[in-house]
């Protein structure tokens, strides 16, 4: 399946990109996607302890299952307001 991965802020700057399409095996979870992203962009490794995910604009845990066409945002600690 194909999912769209998006990065923002510090993660975007570290990886040098804000978006790509990832090919994942059926049944893959957010955790699998995070590992794939760290593999593709090793500059993200220092952020590993603090990376959280959102799937289709909602916060999602690492064990959340993904589906074809999902948009997954990898998010560093937020700092709005």
């Amino acid at each position: 399946m194909t999912v769209i991965v998006r990065l923002f802020a510090a993660l975007r700057e570290a990886a040098g990109t804000d978006r790509w399409e990832a090919e994942l095996p059926g049944g893959a979870t957010v955790r699998v996607l995070v590992e794939a992203a760290l593999d593709r962009h090793p500059q993200l490794e220092p952020f590993r302890p603090v990376i959280r995910a959102a799937v289709n604009d909602a916060w999602a845990g690492l064990d959340t299952g993904l589906h074809d066409g999902d948009e997954v945002a990898l998010l560093s600690p937020v700092s709005g307001g």
């Binding site: 998006r6 923002f8 945002a73 998010l75 560093s76 937020v78 700092s79 709005g80 307001g81």
Partner: protein
């Protein structure tokens, strides 16, 4: 309950927010404005810049506003956040609450800004006087 959510690069003006909240005809209107401060931990800020996951941030802000309506006896909730560059002494966020009586307006405003700061996908970047920049929360990486 009525809700006004916005994310914009334009300057945030409290006047129209006050006018909209006042239309609720409640007795208590609370406005919180978060502004760019000059000094933080001994370092001087020239400006802040904010970046948002726009679609998700709007949904989260709406979710928080709706939750405030459940938790507090409020009539209207406004949450506006600015993105892009926010110079010192300009507002990055406006939280506004109208309620019949003042206690709920104070409490809901406090709750909303506290919740926004932990769950809305917006990020602040410091631009310091020494020319360096830093996303908030990055210092632990160094």
């Amino acid at each position: 309950m009525e809700i006004w959510i916005d994310i914009t690069q334009d300057v945030l003006h409290p006047g129209p927010v006050w006018g909209w909240l006042a239309a609720s005809e409640g007795g208590g209107v609370n406005l919180f404005l978060g502004a760019t401060r000059r000094m933080t931990a001994g370092k001087e800020t020239v400006q802040l810049s904010y970046e948002a996951h726009d679609t998700m941030a709007r949904k989260e802000m709406r979710r928080l506003a709706e939750a405030a309506g459940e938790r507090f006896d409020v009539l209207r909730v406004a949450m506006l956040h600015r993105t892009g560059i926010v110079p010192v002494s300009e507002a990055s966020v406006i939280i506004g609450v109208a309620s019949a009586h003042r206690a709920a307006a104070f409490e809901a405003s406090r709750w909303l800004i506290d919740e926004l700061k932990v769950s809305v996908p917006i990020w602040k970047q410091e631009h310091y006087a020494d020319g360096s920049t830093e996303w908030q929360g990055e210092d632990w990486l160094r």
